[in-house]
Amino acid sequence: MAGIVSYGAYIPFNRLPRAEISKVWGGPHLPGEKAVAGFDEDAVTMAVAAAIDCVKGINCEDINGVYFASTSSPYLEKQVSALIAQVLNLKKDVWTMDFAGSLRCGTNALKAAMDAVKGGSAENILVCASDVRPACAKGDKEMNFGDGAASFLISNKDVSVEVENTYTRFNELMDVWRSDQDPYVRSWEDVFIYAKGYTAVVSSTVLAALKKVKLEPSDFSRVALYSPNARQLGAVARKVGFSPEVQIRDVLHLSVGNTGTAMAMMALIAALEEVEGNERLLFASYGDGCDVFIMKTTDKIRDIKNRRGIKEHLASKKTMSSYSQYLTWRKQLETEPPRRVPLEGPSASALLRDNKSGLAFYGVKCLKCGTPQYPPQRVCLNCGSKDQFEDYCFANKIGKVTAFSHDMLGATLDPPITGATIDFEGGGRIKLDMTDRVPEEVKVGIDVEMTFRKLRYVNGIYDYWWKCRPIRSSM
């Protein structure tokens, strides 16, 4: 039966306590904190991070497709799934598709992936959902939204979670939207959007799905739902008859926020981290309608290990210094540019030549002397051999800091720029920026891992590359 083989998630390192927002604007605030994409993160980099978490232990050469789902893709016209396929160095003939336009596009992508593997057009599909939704300062959406990503590998065999049934209802309604001219997400008045939108539609669709498959709410050990906020999640639970404490156990609203397209999938991963084999789950999204998935775990669920998923990512965090830091990162607060040379735009032809080295982070290893080197060289830096190399990936390697500096001069939205010289386990050295770090904790000799990030945006081009960061762990 078709279903989920593997899962992975991503929650940004940075968290903004919601009290920081009301400190500036006054008024009440929601409890807890929100996860905030770093100044060098966006829906693409977070999707890559979740995908990397998902494919741990899986040979990327065996992947047949990548679907990317988001309402906040950095490009209106340009496919992100192709970019992700290049970053993961997938085969050239994988299916790449972007899903957009609704918070339901994540489950739309999952449904399409299910159909593809069932129909036989692909053996498996990697689905990534990610959102950094723009919210206007001082509004309830800013308070409520958080950033995050989730990824599933969908296949027709050897699944950890069988998808037994799916059900859907569409619902044409102006409740939450963003037009091509809107910088921020809009919504109609709350009472209306829940009465005719989320709360009504999700509860009725789930009940209709249950009726169709002849199951009761109590038949599910866990329930993972999209929800705009904790209160409406509770309202849906009451209407359907789910126990918020036992079946839902939401951890996202208090510590991450409403992660949009990724939310239902992140809630599902949080549930999957806690279930055993042969347990039934219900999973539903919302956005211009509702998709419902009825699932059952297999014994293989226990084989999914070493995922950072929701639990580890939640525990590994840094509290942001201020609300103004958040506004600056989001470019919602204009600041005086430093007196430095204006940034140059990358060249499209150079970017093309750099696809494998820059995006997939491949260097080379000398076939004669075994020396790994980055970027790829024509002449070996150690033995001088010409063109005697094999490809060598640095993206999955651990490195050590040999030298570093906290730079106050370079232009960045997150000063200081921590620049570091990294020596890799197995050989090779690369000079990189360090992100998601606490400056005082950076020392010569600490271990770092690689993370895919946005370096600059010039002339309409987002320039992505890799940075290092202290290894994220909940320890």
Binding site: P346, T402, A403, S405, M408, R429, K431
Partner: protein
């Protein structure tokens, strides 16, 4: 392989005021430096056979025409040289080779930079370097940290390698810069001519940790010039010419940025250029034989490791020599007698020739309040690039032939 030793001499030099030369264009500075050098050598434009011109980004325009236009050189061969901060010394090297070859008898070397017309802080070159350090040319996939941060990284690994506690490391660097400021205070053409205390240097705002404001050299406008002639004709121009003993340059293959074997606590290119220069000049004990050295202190840490790379101090021990005053004006081997890049200033393409200007004046006994007694052999050193990937030049000159 041949040698430049004792084959050419410098018989005239000129140097403008360095600093924020708001009232001078590159053209003005070229004219001032060139005519000072010509006058010093007792010659005129018509006596020049060829010219070498060094500039990193100097307007107006590219090629050697900037020099020819300013001086109205009569359709002479002019070669423009760029090797980052080593450009000036590389121009001097190429000009010297041309004279030594017998092709030309009288050659002008001039370096200029006009950095302060762009309204920016720091060098305008950051974006250019990124292409060299990144994943691929023109993708700008590279560390976004500034130039100073690349040198600051060397401080972190140097301190770590030699077990120097952070506070003491800062003090060593501050002591070194206080000495540069003292020397600068005695140098009329220098950009910064003020004494600064060690405490003030240590407590200055951080630029790129652990380097603070006073650990970083000035960004300056300026020009410097030299007249090169065959050694056997030098005395026809003046009684006190300075003879070139060595001019070496080592350009790194970017090894240190890719090879974990590089410890990031020295500059390999300096060591290589110095070794070659000492061999060329016949120097076996640099610490004893060199009277003064004007080295590339783009940052305090650069000056510190350079003392080791030039074999003045054993590895890890340069700090002890700094603290004992060995490199100060009255010490055993005065370094940066005119204040160095830190205080004299650093107009990229002019710096190597400015160092030679100071060395020339010291060896002629014309350095006034900062004169070093019995200065007979002088060394200059430039570093273009960053630790791990640099173009480094070392020049050695003497009052005497043989």
């Amino acid at each position: 392989m041949g040698s430049i030793r004792d084959r050419v001499a410098i018989v005239g030099m000129g140097c403008t005021q360095f600093g924020n030369n708001w009232d001078m264009s590159a053209n003005d500075m070229i004219v001032n430096a060139a005519f000072e050098a010509l006058e010093d050598a007792g010659i005129e434009i018509k006596d020049i056979d060829a010219a070498w011109f060094s500039s990193f980004f100097c307007p107006p325009g590219l090629t050697g025409q900037s020099l020819a236009k300013a001086l109205k050189l009569p359709f002479l061969p002019v070669t423009r040289v760029e090797n980052a901060c080593a450009s000036g010394t590389d121009a001097l090297r190429n000009a010297s080779y041309a004279v030594a070859s017998g092709i030309y008898d009288t050659v002008l070397v001039l370096g200029v930079e006009k950095l302060k017309d762009n309204g920016l802080q720091g060098l305008p070159d950051a974006e250019m370097w990124l292409n060299m350090w990144g994943s691929h040319d023109s993708t700008y996939r590279c560390t976004t940290a500034s130039g100073p941060a690349q040198f600051a990284q060397m401080a972190s690994s140097y301190f770590s390698k030699y077990g120097i506690e952070a506070e003491h490391g800062k003090r060593i660097l501050a002591t070194l810069e206080a000495s540069n400021h003292h020397n600068g205070s005695l140098t009329p053409k220098a950009q910064f001519r003020n004494e600064v205390s060690v405490e003030k240097i240590m407590n200055a705002p951080i630029i790129a940790a652990p380097l603070g404001l006073f650990d970083c050299c000035g960004v300056s406008d300026g020009a410097a010039a030299a007249i090169i002639v065959p050694a056997d004709k030098a005395k026809e121009f003046r009684s006190d010419p300075i003879f070139i003993k060595a001019l070496q340059i080592a350009v790194g293959p970017c090894d240190g940025l890719m090879n974990p074997g590089y410890d990031y606590a020295h500059v390999e290119e300096t060591g290589r250029a110095a070794k070659a220069a000492y061999k060329e000049a016949g120097i076996t004990e640099p610490r004893k034989e060199i009277s003064i050295a004007n080295v590339h202190d783009c940052f305090s840490i650069t000056q510190l490791v350079t003392m080791e790379d030039l074999q003045f101090s054993p590895r890890g021990k340069a700090g002890e020599d700094v603290m004992s005053g060995f490199f100060s004006l009255g010490g055993g081997l005065p370094v940066n007698t005119d204040g160095g890049l830190k205080c004299f200033g650093h107009p990229i393409g002019a710096s190597g020739i400015r160092m030679m200007y100071e060395t020339y004046k010291q060896l002629q006994g014309k350095a006034d309040k900062r004169q070093v007694d019995n200065a007979s052999v002088g060394l200059t050193h430039n570093l273009g690039g960053i630790p791990g990937s640099a173009s480094v030049s070392v020049g050695i000159v003497s009052r005497e032939l043989g």
